[in-house]
C-alpha cells in the first residue's frame, strides 16, 4: 500500500464501510438479472420493494433506537395490534378512515412511549423490557380482537395504497421512500439526530454535555412505536385482513435489515439509508432463493446465513478500519 496515504486509506475504508450494502445490492441484482430476466422488469422490482414495505417502515424507527444504543423487540407486537385495530376501527366504512388511521398511530406511539418512559427513568435493559411489552401487547391484541381475525377495511383504502402511479410505482413504495427521507433528514440534520449518535457512542459523555437523555429516549422509542403502527397499517393494506399474530417475528426481520445495513447493537453506528439497503438485499436474496426453486422454508436458512455473514463482514471491516485509525485515536474497547 505505497500508493495510498494513511489519510486516504482511512477515508476509503470509511466509505466502504458506509456504503458496502449498496455494493452488495448491486452485485445481487446483477446475479439475479443473469439468472432471470424477471429482475430486469421494473414492475417485478417494484413488487419486491412493495413486499418489504411494512418491515421497511418499521425498521426506520428501530434503526433510530439502535443508533442510540437501545433495541425495540416490541415492534412485531405493535404491528399485530395496529393492523387488527385499524381494520376494526374502519369497520368497512370510508368515513371511518381518518380517525381509524389517527387512533392507530396514536396507539403505536403510546406503546412506544410506555417503553421509552420505563427505559429512560429506570435504565432497565431494553431487550427484556420490550420483550415484556411485546407479550402484553399480544395479550391486549387478543382481548381486543377476540382472538381471531376481525374488522373490515374501508373501501378505497387498499386500492389507494396499492395503486401503481404511472402503472409502475405503488403508492406504498412512495410512502416508504418519503418516510425514509424524513428519517434520514432527522438523523443527519437535526440536533435530535446528532444526540442519538452521541448517546449511542458514549452515554456518559452525552449526559456531561448537557443532553436531556430521558427526553431523547422517550422520543426515540415513541417514534419507533409510531413507525411500527405505520408498518401495521401498511401490512393491513397489503393483506386486506389482519389476524392477531400478523406481525409475529417481524421484529427479527427488522433487526436483520438494520444489522445488514451497518447499524450495530452497541449503538452510535449506521443509519436509515443502510437499513433500507439491508432491507432490499434481504428481499432480493429471498426472492432469488424462491426463483431457484427452493421452498419458502429454505429461505429461512438463507436468511440466517445472510445475517451471520453480513455482520461478520461488518465486524471485519470495522476492526480493520479501527486498527488503521489507531495511531491517531485509540478506540475504546467495547
Amino acid at each position: 500500500m505505497t500508493v495510498l496515504t494513511p489519510a486516504l486509506r482511512r477515508h476509503a475504508v470509511r466509505v466502504l464501510q458506509q456504503h458496502s450494502i449498496w455494493l452488495v445490492l448491486l452485485l445481487l441484482l446483477l446475479v439475479s438479472a443473469v439468472l432471470s430476466d424477471a429482475f430486469l422488469r421494473p414492475a417485478y422490482l417494484m413488487n419486491l420493494v412493495l413486499q418489504q414495505t411494512p418491515v421497511g417502515i418499521t425498521a426506520i424507527g428501530v434503526t433510530l433506537v439502535m443508533i442510540s444504543g437501545g433495541i425495540d423487540l416490541s415492534v412485531g407486537a405493535i404491528i399485530s395490534l395496529t393492523a387488527v385495530m385499524c381494520a376494526i376501527l374502519m369497520n368497512g366504512q370510508s368515513e371511518n378512515l381518518p380517525h381509524a388511521l389517527i387512533l392507530t398511530c396514536l396507539a403505536g406511539t403510546l406503546v412506544g412511549a410506555f417503553n421509552g418512559l420505563l427505559i429512560a427513568y429506570n435504565r432497565v435493559s431494553p431487550f427484556i423490557l420490550t420483550l415484556g411489552t411485546a407479550i402484553i401487547v399480544y395479550g391486549l391484541t387478543q382481548i381486543y380482537s377476540g382472538g381471531t381475525a376481525s374488522g373490515v377495511v374501508s373501501p378505497g383504502f387498499r386500492e389507494t395504497l396499492n395503486h401503481r402511479i404511472g402503472g409502475i410505482v405503488p403508492t406504498m413504495v412512495v410512502i416508504l421512500l418519503l418516510v425514509a427521507a424524513c428519517g434520514i433528514l432527522v438523523q443527519r440534520r437535526t440536533r435530535f439526530g446528532r444526540a442519538l449518535y452521541l448517546i449511542g457512542t458514549n452515554p456518559a459523555a452525552a449526559r456531561l454535555a448537557g443532553l436531556n437523555l430521558p427526553r431523547v429516549t422517550v422520543i426515540v422509542y415513541s417514534l419507533s412505536g409510531l413507525f411500527a403502527a405505520l408498518g401495521g397499517i401498511a401490512l393491513l393494506a397489503r393483506a386486506g385482513v389482519a389476524g392477531t399474530y400478523t406481525g409475529r417475528g417481524s421484529e427479527f426481520d427488522v433487526l436483520a435489515a438494520a444489522v445488514l445495513g451497518g447499524t450495530t447493537f452497541e449503538g452510535g453506528h449506521g443509519g436509515i439509508g443502510g437499513t433500507i439497503g439491508g432491507l432490499l438485499v434481504l428481499g432480493l436474496a429471498l426472492n432469488l432463493v424462491n426463483l431457484v426453486g427452493l421452498s419458502f422454508y429454505a429461505q429461512l436458512i438463507v436468511k440466517g446465513a445472510i445475517i451471520v455473514a453480513a455482520s461478520t463482514t461488518y465486524e471485519f471491516v470495522r476492526r480493520s478500519s479501527a486498527s488503521l485509525e489507531k495511531p491517531a485515536t485509540s478506540r475504546r474497547e467495547k
Partner: protein, 338 residues
Amino acid sequence: MTSAQRLPRFTAAAAQAVGTLATRRELMRLGALARSYGIYLVLIALLLVPSLWLSEYRGARNLGQIVQQSAALAILAIGQTFVIACRMIDLSVGQLMGLIVVASCSLMDGRPEMTVPAILLALAIGLTVGAINGLLNNRLRIHSLILTLGMLSILQGVIFVYTDRSVGAASPAVLRIGNGTVTGVPVAVPLVLVVAALAALLLHRTRFGLYVRVVGANEEGARRAGIDVARVKLPVFILSGVSAAIAGIILAGRLGTGYPNAGTGFELDAIVAVVLGGTPLSGGRGTILGTLAAVLVLGVTANLLNLLGMSAFIQMVVKGAIVIAAVLINQPRELARA
C-alpha cells in the same frame, strides 16, 4: 459469592436495620439483598397465599403437575443461565429444541427399542449445534445475539424443510419422562433437580464456573489475567445445546409427537426466567436456584390464572406485566454502580 456466604450478612443487616437507626447505606444494602432474594419471596407468597382459599391449588399433586409442565423450560433456562452469566445470549435454543423434538420423534416412531438411539441422537444434535455456535462465536467475533439469531432462522428452516407437519411419535419410555410418575412423584421432578444440582455445582464450585463469571464480568480483564476466553465460551454454548437436548426429550414426551413448532418462543421464556431469577444480562453473576425459582413463578402464575378461570389472553398480559415488574425490580443495581 455464594448464597451460603450471603445469608449471615442478610440476617446481620436485617437485625441492624430493625434494631438500630439504619443508615442510608445499610438500607441500600438491605434493598439489594431483598432484590437478590425477591424471587424466592414472590414464589413463597404465590405458593402460600392463594392456597388459603383455592382448595384445588393446595397439595403436592398440583405442584407436581406444575413442575411437570415447567420441566422443559427449567432445563433450558439452566443452560441459558451459564450463557447469560458469561454475558452472552443464545437465541437458538428454542428452535434447537424444536429440531430435537422432531428428529427424535421421527426416529422413535413409537418403537420402544429406539428410545436409547433417539436420546443419543438428541444429545448429538444439541452438542453439535452448541459447538457450532461456540466455534462461530469465537471465530467470527460478532455479537452472540446476532449469531444465534441467524442460527435460529437456520434451524427453523431445517425443521420445516424436513417437515411442515407433526411427524413420528414418542416411545413409551420417553412419554413416561414427560408425563409419568414414579411412586406418585412425576419423573420430571428428580430429573430437573439432578440437572439443577449438577449445574449449580458446576457454576459455583468449579474453576470453570468461576471463569464463566469472570469472563462475563470483564472479558478483557479475564484475557489479561491469562484466561483463555475462547475455551470458556465454547463449553458454555455446548452446555446450552445439551440443555436444549434434554429439554427437547422432555418436551417430546409431553407432546408425544414431533411438532415442528414445538420450540418456538421458548428461547425468550428461558431468557426471561434467567433474568427474573436474578442473573443480570450484563453478566458476571449467575444463580441456578434463582432461575429455577423464576421458572416455578412463571409456572405457578399460569396455573393460578387457569384455576381462576382467566382466559389465555389475560394470562399473556399478566405474564408480560410480571416480566416488566421483575426487570424494574432487578435492574437498579446497575444504576447504583454507575
